[in-house]
Symmetry: D2
Subunit: 310 residues, 4 copies
């Protein structure tokens, strides 16, 4: 599986990985290894590095290279590694993206630059990016207007799907966005458009509904990745209500972790408590948990453990 690539039928859970730092703020390479192991044990199908919640924008160019290389090496073919390659300049995006592919990435996750407004502006940007990357580089479109301010219509997505074979996956995060999944799937069922893989984001906040509407899984982060994995597995095994029951058990914590702009601090703390990383700090500027936040989390996790029968 080492060099397998993302494709239109890719399914399952691609976990968005945070970047662990030590107390001095350096990338904690030991924790990065243990975090990869933690994710693999949870059964994820892939690991996505250098996303927004991986604090990629706060890493230096060298650090980005190092994180990507280390994760790909540690994973050692046991899962696919997707590399975040969004960049303000297209040339840098492409050269970094090609490096990532050369080192063994399964594909690139790219969000459009902010400032694109009309359908034609969005299409034009992507046409250039997809063309310059070339047909051999599989791309996952991060559709996350809450962060980029770029709202992509189904019409634009379908134009891109029709014209660029290397657009193979949508990281679906527009919210509300349930109807968008349905519209994309109908375009395929009608025979009008090629199918692409749809993995959902937003911490999985609507995962059961999204799976029912045709999503192939999730590309998102959560302190309990095993839940995402099992929900998808149960769902694809036809145990739809059981999948949702499991999801609902974790929902109070998931909703807490999904607070915009703050959730990453909670996620890292959960990962720290679970032994996946050694330190929960974010790089500046970023939120920090107070003593009150910690006690609140104690209470929420204790409640989860009761519900899980732990």
């Amino acid at each position: 599986m080492a060099n397998s690539l993302l494709c239109e039928t890719t399914r399952g859970v691609f976990i968005i990985s945070p970047t662990p730092f030590d107390d001095g703020g350096a990338v904690d390479r030991e924790s990065l290894d243990s975090l990869v192991d933690f994710y693999l044990e949870a059964g994820v199908n892939g690991i996505t590095v250098l996303g927004i919640l991986g604090e990629a924008q706060k890493l230096s160019a060298v650090e980005r290279q190092d994180v990507m290389t280390q994760v790909i090496r540690r994973v050692a073919g046991r899962a696919q590694v997707v590399v975040g390659a969004s960049a303000p300049g297209t040339d840098n995006l492409v050269s970094f993206g090609r490096q990532a592919m050369d080192r063994g990435a399964a594909g690139l996750m790219i969000a459009p630059v902010s400032g694109l407004k009309t359908d034609d502006q969005i299409y034009g940007y992507w046409a250039r990016v997809l063309e310059q990357l070339g047909p051999d580089v599989p791309v996952c479109y991060q559709d996350f207007p809450q962060s980029t301010n770029v709202v992509t219509s189904v019409a634009v997505l379908n134009r891109l799907i029709d014209n660029f074979g290397n657009l193979v996956m949508l990281k679906h995060e527009e919210c509300p966005g349930l109807t968008k999944i349905t519209a994309l799937r109908q375009g395929t069922e009608n025979g009008d458009h090629r199918r692409v893989s749809i993995l959902v984001g937003n911490g999985g906040l609507y995962l059961p509904q999204e799976l029912r509407r045709g999503a192939d899984g999730a590309m998102t982060g959560f302190g309990y990745p095993e839940m995402l994995v099992q929900v998808c597995q149960k769902f694809f095994a036809g145990k739809v209500e059981q999948a949702e029951d499991l999801f609902d058990t974790y929902l109070p914590v998931l909703r807490h972790e999904q607070q915009p702009g703050f959730g990453l601090a909670i996620r890292k703390e959960i990962l720290r408590r679970r032994g996946a990383i050694r330190t929960a700090t974010l790089r500046h500027p970023g939120p920090m948990l107070t003593a009150c936040d910690h006690r609140e989390l104690d209470s929420l996790l204790a409640r989860l453990n009761v519900r899980l029968g732990h």
Copy 2:
């Protein structure tokens, strides 16, 4: 209780009421009465009309007057009625607000105009509004930056609390915002600032955590207002974990209804299915449920009924 006013110790659930329309798009006065009855039976302490989710901005001036008058009359003193009075111009805000008070409102809910950025700009706007309304008009500050783009610091809130006795309540909706509640309560506990009532919004998505941090209840909408009421009652009776258990039971539906910009269509449909209103339509422009949305809601509500043992 008829003419009682909002005050710093007001507690409980103030339900944000939608405005029901008939198939032709007119305000459905019969449904407005039945909706009030439905809320009173659920045990709410207050009803807030003419908020953003009451589609106030799509009502004519005459309709706003009529809705407010009818609800106050129907409630007939069995709960407090808060009237949304936000307006782009301060003079109109004040004259409408005074009318509302004259007709029996318990207070006004006001969100700042968008475009205010710095602490001094925000303070200056409110100083003018609170002064012009006068000391006898109790005001609930709708702190909802997701809609207004105005982010109000704790420092500004405390300056306003210190200087304007008619600011008696905060409708807390900044998200993430748990720390803000704690900071405000500490200001009171330290003896530095007057206490105000804090009711939370955002559909109650974080209600148990917010109550634990010192909130006095909720001023928000939800298709199952009785849950909000019971969670608050249990919490204030010291049954904290039971309150949260009940909340968690409804959380899958609450999260679904809380989709930004879309949730009101779901909320109205739930209210329709429960017999509270006759028609679920919103005025244009506004979202409309598809057949697929309806089936999804069927499934979510069926799951809720199972969990409730219905």
Copy 3:
């Protein structure tokens, strides 16, 4: 000319009229008459009332009716009157718009509600509005993304032009937007799309360039409307460079008046100094000139007078 309507060949200057208030904040009806007279003497082809810079959003429903009625009556057919009818709700937009037409408006100026993002969302909104207004109501599309956050592509405009005969005019204010004028005019020259009138906004900051690209004039405000009128007249008489010379003479003042969010205070003060209105105040919330602002304006206007040879 009294009841003549806007059409695809409408040309010249439609001045965006502020609403004058007296010191107490009431609409100053006497100043409204003198302002109309001032504009007619300047030679404008039309007057547009109840726009954003007419502080329409800070007027009550009754005041909006009164302002529109008074201006139409005072103009008495000597120019066309366009009425701003933008509203958050489509039903109110339509009923107010029809009233305006009944009272003698030449057409409606409408800006889309904010929140529309994709091409289809924008088209869908307008399709509903234009259909509901009906084929007999000529509409001017206020294309002003700096205020509405709605960016309308040439493709969407052309779809609307093709499908709705009552869309007869574009108030062009996207900035940068020179290319947009050229693209629209090429669509007409190619025979692909109906011609519409294009009047430009932004205080006329790019007026000579816009006329050269095919604009039909300006629909904007400026303390010296006679300049806008003469520039257009000279331009259409073929005296292109003379038109631009005249424009450049006023450009230092025009640029000063065009400061976003502040310029209306300057414009009203210029109008006051010129005797067009009695008081320069805006309604709250709005900017107010300081003593320093006044001295600065003294200096700029003195320089203008020198250049004009006064």
Copy 4:
């Protein structure tokens, strides 16, 4: 002057330098040298590299180092070089900023990260940045909310000025912002706050007014830097009206070049036509001039030459 640093009394014109690219999109090192020479001949006091309009965000880390190094070397002490060091992560900002100072920069230009809203959030961010850089690194605060969405009050600026001696300069670009200059200068005249240098941006669109209010010059770009230089020199020599006369002569072109998000393409083309650089292209994504844009520029520059008597 080679290693002189920015300070509170720095005065004159610091030109914001674009980054020239060749037809293949690589940094054009030959043009970078000729551009530096062009600026020095125009008499600028400083050159600012790696700003937003230097397309810094589209350069790789290595390219940023190279551009900075080359410009500092070419300038060879004949002017000060300010280096743009804004970055999403504070650690990278600081390490890059220190490198720049080690190589001979006179100071750093920094804009705050977007997402900061309240006074305390903005102050807190800057306190960390200024502290981490240390007292020996002079900082120019780029106050440009049109790009960053961060609106900084005079109160916050004064708190920072009082507490951090290394904040020595404000690049003033808030618009409208004339009152802000006056308020800052009054704080100094009253003896309440340390004086800092204020250089203005926005292409110099309001330069004469800003100088009259106490600005020390401009830190901005324009295809005719000699105008900015001469306006400042005349102004500081007491020839205030002559300074403004000269400014007004260039204003039609300046206003054209100042179109937001598009002006850089015009600026580069003017620099190309004047022989300062060989190629006018921007990196993708970025605007490109059409044939129509070129003809329009022909006309505007011809008019300028007539007015200059060339």
